[in-house]
Symmetry: C2
Subunit: 294 residues, 2 copies
């Protein structure tokens, strides 16, 4: 098992130098900073003093042996251990209500004994999840704040312990990294931040040969899902549904029309986030209907 | 208890003649036709022969005593008894995948013993819900296929037994009707139809004085939600989040920024449908956080 210690990148890029090489099937621990690179951890630190070049760091990248362009990288999320303090913020012109936000707020939030202490009265369970996770994109450099077919800032609250994620591999070694853990986040992440927190994340990285996919997919005990990100929600929806329809056709031997009707009857279209430069949605089908993605 | 027998309207309109008058707090049963006005029930009947003027009928309307403009109509869904056969369809240029649908399909589906028999192998539980439900809109006539602040074709799968819905009242008597029941439907209703079915729906209609709301809201044991429909998903999202933020501020004594951060951490933004002329979304907050909407 390898431990990757806060070696951070701020963009997914095949040119990033890998800080470790892991075997196909190996377990790896990533120690991550929060989405502000821990710059707001100290009482009194404020948005005004932020270095915006250090937003959404991902720890890594690691080179996965045996991974070649055209393969699939399987990432099993095994453990997420949270730090003891999270932070949230509200910023004018950011998030769904940005036009109504008159001044910035920064809120440090205690996280202990499995609970988020939002304030003295409002205490709720942690729901740890990973915001930024992915591989080097096919072309160029994509900053860690933006999601896409390589993964990135998908802010999908189903990326939590117990899930298997699948990524297209575009480059030898996959060049994988993750960061931006949240102690809690709702579907949509409507004010731009979840309960942002540093953490230690254990995953298993495996290479699957003989299958190619075009966008991240996800599987847990309850659902199979296709994740798609696009500047326009309607287009993200089209592609997520199109790809899931293809999976259903192949898995269950149905026509396009029948697979679509099945998705219309039992599939769920979900918002992941609507506040990053590209919006992320997920089309799901229950495991009771389709037992596995592949 | 009154029984409303298939008196159908195809638009929500304050000029529609009410077919019954009910007391404030009375229980009412609506017998409904499916969204095709049962025109596709017979084996061999096809889309080509459909009279499109008879789509999405709502049974009613009823005049609710004591309801005045500016009040709120509370609708508790008490029972939904389904017919024994549902129907689904896929149509070129309709729904998320309309551009890929080459020819129409009509699929009649048996519904018995609480199960939807999609085909010989695929059998799943019924999840009965109401697609079309609402009051007369403030102005003009809105066809039953279109949702809005009056309700209408919201296709929200949480409108099921055990839920309380709240509608703004725009006209004396509220002028309430419902129809378009589904035996099953997933969030998004991606191919335009759920498992469309005729049904008998029992609701209780009550008037709440002293509160005005601008859009339908919903409450069940798990969540409080604000429903909003708009031609553009992004605008539907903005308004649903804005209104839920106002409710959270008032209920929990938080500022706009704090209420927004709370929604970002524990609230869920949901798709209801993305296939009607206006798209419908819902912003929810768990009942563990906010015990009631008002």
């Amino acid at each position: 098992m390898k431990i990757i210690e806060n070696n951070r990148v701020f963009a997914f890029d095949s040119k990033n130098e890998c800080v470790a090489e892991v075997m196909d099937g190996e377990t790896v621990v990533f120690r991550t900073h929060d989405c502000f690179d821990n710059q707001l951890s100290e009482e009194g630190s404020c948005i005004g003093a932020l270095n915006w070049d250090r937003i959404n760091p991902a720890t890594g990248p690691v080179y996965v042996q045996n991974a070649k362009a055209g393969d699939v990288l399987k990432v099993e999320i095994l453990e997420i251990a949270l730090d003891k303090q999270g932070v949230m913020c509200a910023l004018p012109e950011n998030g769904v209500l940005g036009s109504l936000v008159k001044e910035e707020s920064v809120k440090r939030i205690q996280v202990k004994d499995g609970k988020v202490h939002f304030n003295d009265k409002l205490v709720f369970d942690v729901t740890p999840m990973i915001g930024v996770i992915g591989v080097a994109p096919e072309n160029g450099s994509i900053n860690c704040g933006t999601p896409g077919c390589h993964g990135g800032n998908m802010d999908n609250k189903r990326i939590k312990v117990g899930v298997s994620l699948y990524f297209p591999v575009f480059h030898e070694g996959a060049i994988f990294s993750l960061g931006d853990v949240h102690a809690a986040m709702g579907d949509g992440e409507v004010m731009v931040s979840g309960v942002e927190i540093s953490a230690e994340v254990k995953v298993r990285l495996s290479v699957i040969k003989g299958i190619s996919i075009e966008t991240p997919m996800v599987e847990n005990e309850e659902i199979c899902g296709v994740i798609y990100s696009h500047e326009e929600i309607e287009k993200a929806v089209f592609h997520a549904v199109r790809i899931m329809n293809e999976r259903v056709q192949e898995n269950l031997g149905l026509s396009l029309n029948e697979a679509g009707m099945l998705l219309s009857a039992v599939g769920d279209l979900r918002f992941c986030q609507v506040v990053d430069p590209e919006r992320t949605v997920m089309m799901c089908i229950p495991k009771k209907i389709m037992k596995s993605l592949f």
